[in-house]
Amino acid sequence: MTVQRDDVIAWIQAFTAAITENKGYLTQLDSDIGDGDHGTNMDRGFQAVSAKVPELADKDIGAILKTVGMTLVSTVGGASGPLYGTFFLQAGSATTGKLELSLADWVAALQAGVDGVIMRGKASPGDKTMIDALTPALQTLKESASKGSGFAVALRASADACEQGMLATIPLVARKGRASYLGERSAGHQDPGATSSHLLLRAAAQVWANQEG
């Protein structure tokens, strides 16, 4: 199996739907340890992305992802805007000119995206941020790829690892982002950004893994 341009757009659309559906939930998580806007922020950004979908159809995958990134940067604001924006911009750079993605391409794209988030936000694993969900997702994806797993299997394993990483943020004391102002009081709450990151990779697994391979 490979992922086509349409699949990439379908992934973005599925993620947009997941964000809309979970907007209240993400905002609630952010109310507990942040400022209660993560759902609204992400939704504002992906509604803007939705409006751009018609322009995306005849672009290559790199250009599609870069457009998503640029749109997020200029509509989301907050911490998640530059972070998810950079994620998509870097993933787009790693896939410039591509019309389809192999598993290896997706590994490269995710690696670039995650590196971008780390470069921008300077978070380390354990800081209780989206990095805690994205890093294991990337790690597991790489392992699956090197074991020779199929794309679909690798995607599911990656999403599962992402979910574990998300859940593992619960006991952590935040060291980055707004939740860090809470110090010890941030423990016992799931990080909202890690939660949206899980939705992102879960959407990829669900949308792309339907085409078994």
Binding site: D37, N41, G77, G78, A79, P82, R175, G177, Y181
Partner: protein, 333 residues
């Protein structure tokens, strides 16, 4: 939720429109991307001063655009950092050839967006410096965390830095003044009630009728600790002590004392707090050289207050006293 609004999602835009109408002698509002800019600018040879941040802190920052203070402000959605495209457009609009200073409150979102904007502006050949305010002693400072929030000092830094820029000092000199204010300033806040973000529709947190939250920021984030409601004297002591210890402020110091309301607290209560503050500082022989009492950096409709002290010297005092003409702060002109 009880607010004087139409649709929650339109609050920021409508308030911007009103500011444009009400203060056409001082500012112009540009849309898509949104920013507020001083009329008659850019001033050639003057460093341009830009700040910005989430909305919901009015009059900060838009109310501080004008002669002697900011050249432009970028308003984000409520409590959400504005985006780099707004900042880039504003930066370009106020560059008078002497460079642009970004005054950024220390929140990850603000930092990241201003960083991206600075990169974009530099790519267009504009010299940009950024100063980050991080005065909130409620938050433990550490190299390994996001550090302290930027709060009350930001207002004072914008005023003082604005005066320095007005004197056509260099970008480096103007940035140094801003850093000096921040380095000499400390803040701590408390809340009697939560605020309600319009799009959330309900209070960010629930505070029982007999409790307060100490060490609150300006975004409805929970504070350092929750405790039983105390008297103004006790509250002031709880806010001032960590401030004094942190810098530390010492006997003989001269300070600018800023008692700030968070949006839902009336002026009479701020004066009660100021009275206690004056007693405490008097007791330690710290001189209040200047003061500011009112709601200048708010958190929507939150009831509560913050206290900011900045250690002043003659240079800072004369810059503080210099004329300022904005909708939110005005004197000398």
């Amino acid at each position: 939720m009880k607010k004087l609004i139409n649709k929650p999602e339109d609050v920021v835009k409508e308030a911007l429109q009103a500011m444009a109408l009400a203060h056409a002698d001082l500012i112009k509002v540009c849309y898509n991307p949104d920013y507020i800019v001083r009329v008659g600018g850019p001033v050639q040879g003057k460093v341009g001063l830009l700040s910005g941040g989430g909305s919901g802190h009015e009059p900060m920052h838009g109310g501080f655009v004008g002669m002697g203070m900011l050249d432009a402000a970028c308003p984000g959605a409520v409590f959400t950092s504005p985006t780099p495209d707004q900042m880039l457009a504003a930066t370009k609009a106020i560059d008078g050839g002497a460079g642009v200073l970004h005054i950024v409150k220390n929140y990850t979102g603000d930092i990241l967006n201003f960083e991206m904007a600075a990169d974009l502006a530099k790519a267009e050949g504009i010299t940009v410096e950024a100063v980050i305010t991080n005065d909130d002693v409620a938050v433990k400072d550490s190299l390994y965390t996001a550090g302290r929030r930027g709060v009350g000092v930001t207002v004072l830094a914008e005023k003082i830095t604005g005066a320095a820029a007005e004197q056509k000092r260099s970008l480096k000199a103007v940035a140094d003044i801003c850093r000096k204010v921040n380095a000499n300033g400390r803040t701590m806040g408390m809340a009697l009630t939560s605020c309600t973000v319009p799009q959330a529709g309900k209070p960010t947190f629930e505070l029982p009728e007999d409790e307060m939250e100490i060490g609150i920021g300006i975004h409805g984030e929970p504070g350092r600790a929750r405790m039983k409601l105390k008297t103004a004297a006790e509250i002031t002591e709880m806010l001032v002590s960590p401030i004094l210890e942190d810098l530390p402020f010492k006997t003989g110091d001269s300070v600018l004392a800023f008692v700030n309301g968070l949006g839902g607290t009336p002026l009479i209560e701020l004066y009660v707090i100021y009275n206690e503050l004056a007693k405490i500082l008097g007791g330690r022989q710290i001189k209040i050289a200047r003061n500011l009492i009112g709601s200048y950096i708010t958190s929507l409709d939150m009831a509560g207050c913050s206290i900011t002290l900045v250690k002043m010297d003659d240079e800072l005092l004369s810059l503080w006293d210099a004329p300022v003409k904005t909708s939110g702060l005005r004197w000398g002109i």
